[in-house]
């Protein structure tokens, strides 16, 4: 092979990142997918993940442009770099998909999730729950004499941490939205 001197994985310019350096390490990526808001589009995306054996750690979807009939799907997924590249390419193939952005590699991004926590308790436990909620900037959105519903937003790790703290204090029910994410800066 001496005659050829192409560096493996070298260069260059393409609309797609076609020359990634693949490793076998599992990575978590957050993908933002803009789609036509039409019937079945979510089923196409989910069907792609189940049909090809990809992971979905979290998925959120809502219309973001009513006039343009566009929705944004935010997917947190896990896989080797090669699998992540496949996922992006496969998403790009779906006809009503407009754009696929990998927020994990396209510069810094903010990720937020909203959680609702119902905590049951009396006495010290109740006071401790309220105190911790304040530290986490969680709001009380409902309360009875023996329960609170806290609303908390933040990065998923923050919500995980809050859940861990609430568990011994009488946590009975959790609802989480999954991650919504945007790139930082003007672009």
């Amino acid at each position: 092979m001496a005659a050829l001197k192409i560096k493996k994985g070298s260069t260059k310019h393409s609309a797609y990142n076609l020359r990634p350096n693949f490793s076998d390490v599992q990575e978590t990526h957050t993908l933002a997918v803009t789609v036509d808001n039409e019937p079945g589009v979510l089923a196409r995306v989910i069907g792609l993940f189940s049909g090809r054996g990809y992971n979905i750690e979290s998925l959120t979807v809502a219309e973001v442009d009513h006039l343009g009939h566009q929705s944004r799907i935010t997917i947190v997924t896990k896989g080797t770099p090669q699998v992540i590249e496949q996922i992006k390419a496969q998403l790009g193939r779906i006809v009503p998909v407009h754009e696929v952005h990998d927020l994990t590699v396209e510069g810094p991004a903010v990720e937020r999730e909203l959680g609702l926590f119902k905590v049951f308790g009396e006495g010290d436990k109740r006071i401790e729950a309220l105190r911790l909620a304040e530290i986490f900037r969680a709001n009380v959105v409902d309360s009875t004499l023996e329960s609170f519903v806290f609303e908390i937003t933040g990065a998923p790790e923050k919500i995980d941490a809050f859940a861990d703290l609430m568990r011994p204090l009488g946590l009975v029910e959790v609802a989480r939205t999954g991650v919504a994410a945007l790139s930082r800066g003007a672009a």
Binding site: M1, A3, L4, K5, I6, K8, G9, S10, T11, K12, H13, S14, A15, Y16, L18, R19, P20, F22, P39, G40, A43, R44, G47, G51, Q82, E85, Q86, A89, Q90, G92, R93, I94, V95, P96, H98
Partner: protein
């Protein structure tokens, strides 16, 4: 001028405006308004099949033989579910077809109505895209979109599900737009820097090989022309997948033959030993690569594909180029010529010598001895007697399919239709009907195995009704031959359910259908029998009784690299290890 019309009439109008002249279909309650419209016009021919699977495969055959979009029309429920195999087949082989299905009226959807099925849900994973047309207003536009999606980019099957009330209601017809405004516009031009990089590699390469696939055929006849020009100007050997046969002529001096699991020795060895692999419109399918970790270990790999998801899917490549094969080939040629038409001539001459040595192994040689027809001999004679004719070949799936790919020689694209990706037994009979509809005066032969042939044999009724003189050339080994071969090699010769028992008398069957039946079991009679088949002006079922236990070689056993090919019976002992047996 606004044109009000019913949804049913819109369907027919939209098909006409899309240039459709032939529809393969089967009626039922949910498509009656469309059938009523078909009855009242003469521009579109409707071919009544005998089973909806036949309609879809016929549409595929039509599409592959013409380069146009094939069309099938089916009713709701069972009509639509019968179309699923054909849709999946077209998806895996990237064949452009539009399937129109009837659906229960919109106000009954979800009520488990008679013949209701969630057609859009069922076919979502086996179409490139599908639509439920909920309003007559947008029906015509949806159908135009469907044609655009089916034929653009990597072609594929699409489905439009049309509820019966949408067919009855009236609205204004939307003609196709002169300029396509669809957002779906796949990239056609390849990245010039990457193409230049490929040309640089090609100039220096000592052992280059072209590995081409169905993408060349799908890109149109112009792409095949450009490929021929490039291959012949550079003198680089070329092999092709099952799907790409005919893009480069079998008589061309650089032709290596098909590669892959049952590919030719010289093709697979060249793939294994090359230093530059130029993949044009193929997808590194597992039938091609064999053991991935040992696939062509020393080569720089370039990959031209219109579908970005094909790149790096199975094999990591060094020079990826997303674009249409025709466009990219044009740029490769342009740049290569502008840079002075350089190749590493001395090295390539040496490489060609090596290739000649591999060719000399003569991996397809066989001995026709005794009174039993060898399947290879049957195809060898069929080739000899038909090679100068205006000929189209379809196949079923099994050993006969691989032998057909090995022993028949294709000089032009769009002449060879076989189920590659899905491996669908039952494809060949309806596909031959679709091809013959497109080319009424040409010779259309379906090379079949007896077991596959039975799967859609009802379509002989279609052939007789529409006077389609398709020739069904059945290599009858009274075995599910390919299954039997695997059982012999992998499962200790325990032939579990791999023989064809209680076979019909094919000659009588032919007569029952109203076509001609011919049987041949003697090599000495074979030529005369084939000539009789060719001379008959009408459909023929040719029952060619062949050697029952013949195996198909060369064979790369599952889980083995290219250079560990089995060439014949002598070399099969212990060829497949336990690890390979788990693969299909």
């Amino acid at each position: 001028m606004t044109r009000q019309m019913t949804g049913a009439r819109m369907v027919v109008q939209a098909l006409k405006d899309q240039g459709v002249d032939t529809v393969f279909g089967y009626p039922g309650g949910a498509v009656l308004p469309i059938y009523d419209e078909i009855f009242q016009q003469n521009d579109i021919r409707h071919i009544l099949v005998r089973h909806e699977q036949g309609a879809v495969h016929a549409a595929e055959g039509y599409a592959r033989a013409t380069g146009k979009v094939g069309v099938a029309l089916v009713t709701s429920g069972p009509g639509a579910t019968n179309a699923v195999t054909g849709l999946t087949d077209a998806l895996l082989d990237s064949i452009p077809i539009v399937v129109l299905s009837g659906q229960v009226p919109t106000f009954m959807i979800g009520s488990d109505a008679f013949q209701e099925a969630d057609t859009v849900g069922i076919t979502r994973p086996c179409t490139k895209h599908n639509w439920l047309a909920k309003e007559t207003e947008s029906l015509a536009d949806t159908i135009h979109q469907a044609f655009h999606v089916a034929r653009s980019g990597r072609p594929g099957p699409v489905l439009v599900d049309i509820p019966k009330d949408v067919q009855f209601a009236s609205a204004e017809y939307t003609p196709p737009q002169a300029i396509n405004t669809s957002r779906y516009q796949p990239q056609l031009k390849g990245d010039i820097e990457a193409i230049t990089e490929l040309v640089e590699a090609l100039e220096k390469a000592e052992r280059p090989v072209f590995y081409t696939g169905g993408g060349v055929i799908n890109s149109g006849p112009g792409a095949s022309q450009l490929l021929r020009e490039l291959v012949d100007a550079t003198g680089i050997p070329i092999t092709s997948t099952l799907m790409g046969l005919g893009a480069y002529p079998a008589s061309g001096k650089n032709w290596l033959g098909m590669l892959g699991m049952h590919g030719l020795y010289e093709a697979n060895m060249a793939m294994h030993d090359c230093d530059l692999m130029i993949n044009i419109g193929a997808r590194f399918d597992d039938r091609i690569t064999g053991l991935v970790s040992a696939f062509s270990p020393g080569s720089i790999k370039a990959h031209v594909d219109i579908d970005p998801s094909s790149i790096h899917k199975n094999i990591r490549v060094d020079i990826p180029i997303v674009g249409d094969v025709g466009h990219v080939l044009e740029d490769i040629l342009k740049i290569w010529k502008a840079r002075g038409r350089k190749t590493n001539k001395a090295a390539i001459a040496k490489w060609q010598e090596q290739v000649s040595e591999w060719r000399a192994v003569d991996c397809l040689s066989f001995k026709q001895e005794g009174k039993t027809i060898k399947p290879q001999y049957a195809l060898h004679r069929l080739e000899a007697l038909t090679k100068d004719m205006d000929r189209y070949i379809t196949t079923e799936v099994g050993q006969h399919q691989m032998w057909a790919a090995q022993y028949l020689r294709f000089e032009d694209p769009n002449r060879w239709m076989t189920s590659g990706g899905l491996g669908t037994m039952g494809y060949g009979v309806p596909a031959s009907i679709g091809v013959q509809m497109a080319h009424r005066d040409s010779l259309v032969i379906n090379v079949a195995g007896e077991a596959s042939w039975l799967m859609n044999m009802q379509e002989m009724g279609t052939a007789v009704q529409f006077r389609l003189p398709v020739k069904q050339f059945i290599l009858n080994n009274e075995r599910l031959g390919m299954v039997r071969q695997w059982q012999e090699l992998l499962h200790g010769e325990r032939y579990s359910h791999s023989w064809s028992e209680a076979l019909p008398d094919f000659v009588k069957l032919a007569e029952a259908f109203g076509c001609k039946g011919i049987r041949c079991d003697d090599p000495d009679d074979l030529d005369e029998a084939i000539k009789e088949m060719l001379a008959y002006d009408g459909p023929v079922i040719f029952d060619c009784l062949v050697e029952k236990h013949e195996n198909c070689f060369p064979m790369i056993p599952s889980g083995k690299p290219h250079n560990e090919m089995l060439l014949g019976e002598a070399s099969t002992d212990g060829a497949i290890e336990a690890g390979g047996a788990v693969l299909v």
